[in-house]
């Protein structure tokens, strides 16, 4: 028999019992839908992870001040700033794996441009900071070396700040006030969008570190050379662990911290934090994967069961087909085709439901979702495989029937 004949015969048999066929396919429908939702969520998570890491700077290590102990009173993290620009220099000199490094101070201030004003976050940074965090320039120029070295009042603004203060006007070269200090806008940064934590990363103004320390932090009484945070960019991803360990070593040496004593700083690898956060999502994916696997197995067994019933019900038909010249192969192919059509049909319905479910999931939950065509191909292959695997035994049983007994069968 030609493949088209086999398909038409199988389709005809299934149509005759369409409700049963649909119910039989239910397990596969659920399984495939679960596979699609699972992969969509998994891929979405992966894509978001990549994006977040990209935004943070891919090989970024953050060094912060640890809480201090003073007479039993424990301040919160960063309540005392234990890092200095000396630490930045020492790290840069001692660890060749560090490609970029920048001290950071930050605060909040009211920005004013003519009649517009806007409350935002300012950060005093060094030139390397923009490389680590992968900031791009949209308009104007970067703050130059001289401005960093000379503590000049130049500023880079994010897109949100630009919109709030300037609207459609050209900000480059304009003068804004940060608090009471006038700054010249050197350039506008390309937008980065929301961070993983839902913070608007473009709602920020950057000024040279030394300028910030002298002019913006002036009223806060901090020792000279203080930085609130040190941000490090490591050249190669493979060196991350080593660099992290070396940073701790170098800082402890510089402080002459006694062995066993607590550090007054913390070293964090940000991409690790992000991946920890996404583990919840991974767990969700795993659960869906388990549901999918079990559904496919249960669905497959359902198909096998119904196919066995179908073979028994149609013994006389099988006998007749054999009498008019159908060989064992043709009979086997026919029943295999039926099993495969049930599971393929179930797979296709499952794909539609899975895509719908993924879209709904992206809409009603915070889980990131990303559909792709490979998943659909994979799901189709899975459903065909389920049909073939679980349809094989019933089909073989049909093919091995004795034509005489099949013809004589009553019922």
């Amino acid at each position: 028999m030609k493949p088209t004949d086999i398909l038409w015969t199988a389709l005809g048999a299934l149509r005759g019992n369409w409700l049963r066929s649909v119910l039989t396919a239910l397990g596969v429908i659920i399984g495939i839908a679960a596979v699609i939702v699972m992969v969509s969520v998994g891929q979405g998570t992966q894509a978001e992870l990549d994006r977040v890491i990209q935004n943070l700077g891919s090989n970024r290590i953050d060094i912060g001040s640890n809480f201090s102990r003073r007479g039993g009173v424990r301040g919160g993290a960063g309540s005392v700033f234990s890092l200095r620009s000396d630490d930045v220099d020492r790290l840069r000199e001692s660890i060749p794996e560090i490609e970029f490094i920048s001290g950071v101070v930050q605060g909040n201030a009211q920005l004013i441009n003519a009649e517009q004003n806007w409350q935002t976050r300012w950060q005093g940074v060094e030139d390397d900071f923009f490389r680590i965090n992968d900031w791009r320039l949209a308009e104007g120029e970067w703050i130059d070396e001289a401005a960093h070295a000379g503590a000049r009042t130049q500023a880079m603004i994010g897109q949100t700040v630009r919109e709030q203060l300037f609207g459609d006007l050209d900000p480059v070269g304009a003068t804004i006030r940060v608090g009471r200090v006038p700054f010249t806008v050197s350039g506008v940064l390309a937008p980065k969008g929301q961070s993983n934590w839902g913070q608007d990363q473009d709602d920020v103004v950057f000024v040279p570190l030394e300028t910030a320390r002298r002019r913006l932090l002036g009223q806060v009484n901090l020792p000279p050379g203080t930085v609130m945070q040190i941000v490090v960019g490591v050249g190669r991803a493979d060196d991350m662990e080593y660099a992290e360990a070396r940073i701790t070593e170098v800082l402890r040496e510089g402080r002459r911290t006694a062995p066993g004593a607590d550090d007054d700083f913390t070293v964090r690898n940000l991409s690790q934090i992000v991946s920890t956060r996404t583990q919840t999502t991974r767990l969700m994916s795993l659960l869906l994967g388990a549901v999918a696997t079990i559904s496919l197995i249960v669905g497959g067994i359902g198909i096998m069961n119904i196919m066995l019933v179908s073979v028994t019900e149609r013994i006389r038909e099988i006998g007749l087909r054999m009498a008019v010249g159908a060989g064992p192969r043709a009979i086997q192919q026919q029943f295999l085709a039926e099993a495969m059509l049930i599971s393929l049909g179930g797979g296709l319905i499952g794909i539609v439901l899975g895509i719908g479910g993924s879209i709904a999931m992206g809409h009603f939950t915070t889980l990131p979702v990303q559909l792709n065509l490979q998943v659909i191909g994979l799901a189709t292959a899975f459903s065909v495989a389920t049909g073939l695997f679980f349809g094989f035994y019933p089909a073989r049983k049909a093919a091995r029937l004795d034509p005489i007994e099949a013809l004589r069968h009553q019922g």
Partner: protein
């Protein structure tokens, strides 16, 4: 040496034993010889238990003999496996059963077309050939009907059209009139005679002498042996 065509059915020393070597052993055929010439209308007659069902299964290549040889239109059946026998049935044998054996969900036309699919005939030709076959049995106007919408006689005609569709040299009819009233039965038997006249070889298996008498030649089965007609068990005993 004769210039005659070789027999379509050539059977020699055919034996069939069920459950051989067990206490339930049954000898169904005890060494049967039979030759059927092309274009002959033969009736195999016998009461139930005489071995005629076994004979029918063996003639139809549905079963294999325990011993002896069967040449079906020149092919030695003993050399064939299940697939080979299926192919032989497809090409050489058309079956007509007592219970019609039509697929109830399919139309008369689809039922007649069934063997053509297995024969690998192109779809375009199937409909035409099936309509022609339905015409031969006088059912051109019932092609779209399902078996439940047809009378018993019409259903059996559909079954005969299906048996003829691949132009097999042998038409094997197992009690073809058993489920029909006598007038309809006569019509079916007349149809067989017509087919014989067109050159088909027809083998009719029945327990009914009135039915068997429509054939050109009658052989009688009794207790696993085949005898010419006119023979009675009493003669043997005597």
């Amino acid at each position: 040496m004769s210039s005659r065509r070789p027999p379509v059915i050539g059977i020699q020393g055919l034996r069939k034993v069920y459950a051989e070597g067990t206490p339930a052993e049954v000898v169904a055929l005890r060494g049967v010889d039979l030759q059927v010439a092309a274009g002959e209308f033969l009736a195999i007659m016998g009461p139930s238990g005489s071995g005629k069902s076994t004979m029918m299964n063996l003639l139809g290549c549905l079963d294999t003999p325990t011993a002896g040889s069967y040449r079906c239109d020149g092919v030695d059946v003993a050399t064939l496996d299940a697939s080979g026998r299926a192919q032989l049935r497809l090409e050489k044998i058309g079956f007509v059963f007592q219970g019609f054996h039509l697929l109830t969900r399919q139309t008369a036309l689809e039922n007649v077309m069934l063997p053509l699919g297995y024969a690998g005939i192109p779809v375009a030709d199937r409909r035409e050939r099936a309509l022609a076959a339905l015409g031969e049995v006088g059912l051109s106007d019932r092609a779209r009907h399902r078996p439940s919408e047809l009378s018993g006689g019409q259903q059996q005609r559909v079954a005969i059209a299906r048996a003829l569709i691949n132009r097999p040299p042998i038409l094997l009819a197992d009690e073809p009139t058993g489920a029909l009233d006598s007038r309809t039965g006569e019509e079916i038997l007349a149809l067989f005679k017509g087919l014989r006249d067109d050159g088909h070889t027809v083998v009719l298996i029945t327990h009914d002498r009135h039915v068997a008498e429509h054939a050109d030649r009658i052989v009688v089965m009794h207790d696993g042996e085949l005898h010419p007609d006119g023979w009675t068990p009493e003669e043997v005993a005597a």
